[in-house]
Amino acid sequence: MTHDFEPQGHVVLDSSDISRALTRLAHEIIERTQGASNLTLMGIPTRGASLATRLGDKISAIQGSPVSVGAIDITMYRDDLRSRPARALLPTTIPPEGIEDRLVILVDDVLFSGRTIRAALDALSEHGRPQLVQLAVLVDRGHRELPIRADYVGKNLPTSRSEKIQVNLVEHDGIDEVRIERES
């Protein structure tokens, strides 16, 4: 999202909020997975993949052992492929351990309709059969259209459908922040 003049909307999470939320998510993941052994974080590109990397770094810093991190592109599994010209594909990286029989946590920036996660589950199943799949998101904004929920949520943000949630990350946007914008 580029702002030509005055940025619309307002910041709901700043850089330190995001960092604290990710730290809490890391602790929750370790607690609920009993030490995070056998864990693989699979981020959904673009921003979900960066968040997965950050979460992986935090978990391995706490645990003192490396965490397996990958990325899974969902483009070809979307249910609205035909609604726009062909979209560019993004990289899928499967860690050397694979995902077979592992505890996989999908990571994304915003959970909205749930359709992206449905696509991610389909994409994931092409690469193996995890023992368990969970979902971690930085922001849950509600308005689900499928029976999907997140296991780990950084921040619940009640929104109206006409609003837009914009997650900016240093890796892509030069700044860490989450904004709510009114659709013009």
């Binding site: 010209p85 594909l89 990289p91």
Partner: protein, 311 residues
């Protein structure tokens, strides 16, 4: 992207998009995903008026890996051998609901006609027309070059490619000159004067008659097949002499720089334009070209058929 008729239709951004898409699709194949879903419910027709094994199989494999339905239509043993025109065949395919037609034809310009005559509504991919163009071959060559010389990223700025042999009958050479220029590479054509097309001096490349003088400084040497089936006159005295002057043998290969690769679009005439030990050497990326062909054709089909139809 609605059609792919000529390598000249591809802008720099288009070409990079095809190569980057092919890279992700190749990675999926490498990761063991044999089948991808984006073309489910789409029908691709392979309309082949000329003999071809690798290109047809390559397009068929590409379409099937993307879950498209594939109909193979070859002129031999079909209504075409009873005298059906391209137009009537096209109308038939349209009535059957073809979403894209991959066409190989012995007449230059047939894909263009098929795409623009209003006979069919789907996309058209040129899989080789006469002595004109073969854009997916150029794309797979660029993809192979990029993997070897540019670590699989970006363009081919500053890469020196030498294309050797029967340029006159080669649609591969024409498409390659166009695409390689778009991607920033420098192309030199090497051939006997009789095997250079009329007007080659207007192509965006250097032309030489001397292979030995062109080896040094080449990052890639692309050997073209001597297309005897298209030769209706004596273009060179005999095979032995051609091979002596324009064939790639080990002595010549050893004069190439350490990192240079040897390419051939296939099928090869071993012993003619390329010696068997060169074809089977470490520097030869010929088998890789075939594998890359499937990835690149998947990318083209995905970009033409993978989104909404109106563009």
């Amino acid at each position: 992207m609605k059609h792919l008729l000529s390598a000249a239709d591809l802008s720099y951004e288009d070409a990079i998009l095809v190569l980057d898409t092919a890279k992700q699709l190749a990675a999926a194949t490498e990761q063991g995903v044999g089948k991808l879903p984006p073309l489910r419910g789409r029908t691709v027709v392979n309309l082949f008026y000329e003999d071809s094994t690798r290109t047809r199989i390559s397009f068929e494999a590409a379409a099937k890996r993307l879950s498209a339905d594939v109909i193979n239509f070859s002129a031999k043993g079909s209504s075409v051998s009873k005298g059906e025109s391209l137009k009537d065949t096209a109308l038939t395919l349209e009535a059957m609901g073809a979403d894209a037609v991959v066409i190989r034809h012995n007449s230059s310009g047939a894909p263009h006609r098929l795409a623009n005559a209003g006979w069919i509504s789907g996309g058209v991919v040129n899989a080789g027309d006469g002595t004109h163009e073969h854009p997916t071959q150029a794309l797979l060559d660029a993809f192979t070059l990029r993997n070897h010389l540019r670590n699989g990223e970006g363009d081919l700025k500053g890469v020196n490619v030498t294309i050797v042999g029967d340029v006159l009958h080669s649609r591969v050479a024409r498409s390659n000159v166009l695409l390689l220029n778009t991607l920033g590479a420098k192309v030199r054509l090497v051939a006997p004067p009789t095997l250079l097309p009329y007007g080659v001096e207007d192509w965006d490349c250097e032309v030489s008659y001397d292979l030995d003088a062109s080896l040094e400084g080449s990052d890639a040497v692309m050997m073209l097949r001597v297309q005897r089936e298209r030769m209706n006159a004596a273009y060179f005295p005999n095979a032995h002499e051609y091979s002596n002057r324009y064939g790639l043998n080990v002595t010549r290969m050893n004069r190439l720089s350490e990192s240079a690769v040897v390419m051939h679009p296939g099928p090869m005439n071993r012993g003619m334009e390329i010696s068997a030990d060169v074809a089977d050497s470490q520097r030869s990326v010929i088998v890789e070209q075939v594998a890359n062909g499937v990835s690149v054709r998947m990318a083209v089909l995905y970009l033409i058929l993978g989104g909404s139809e109106s563009m």
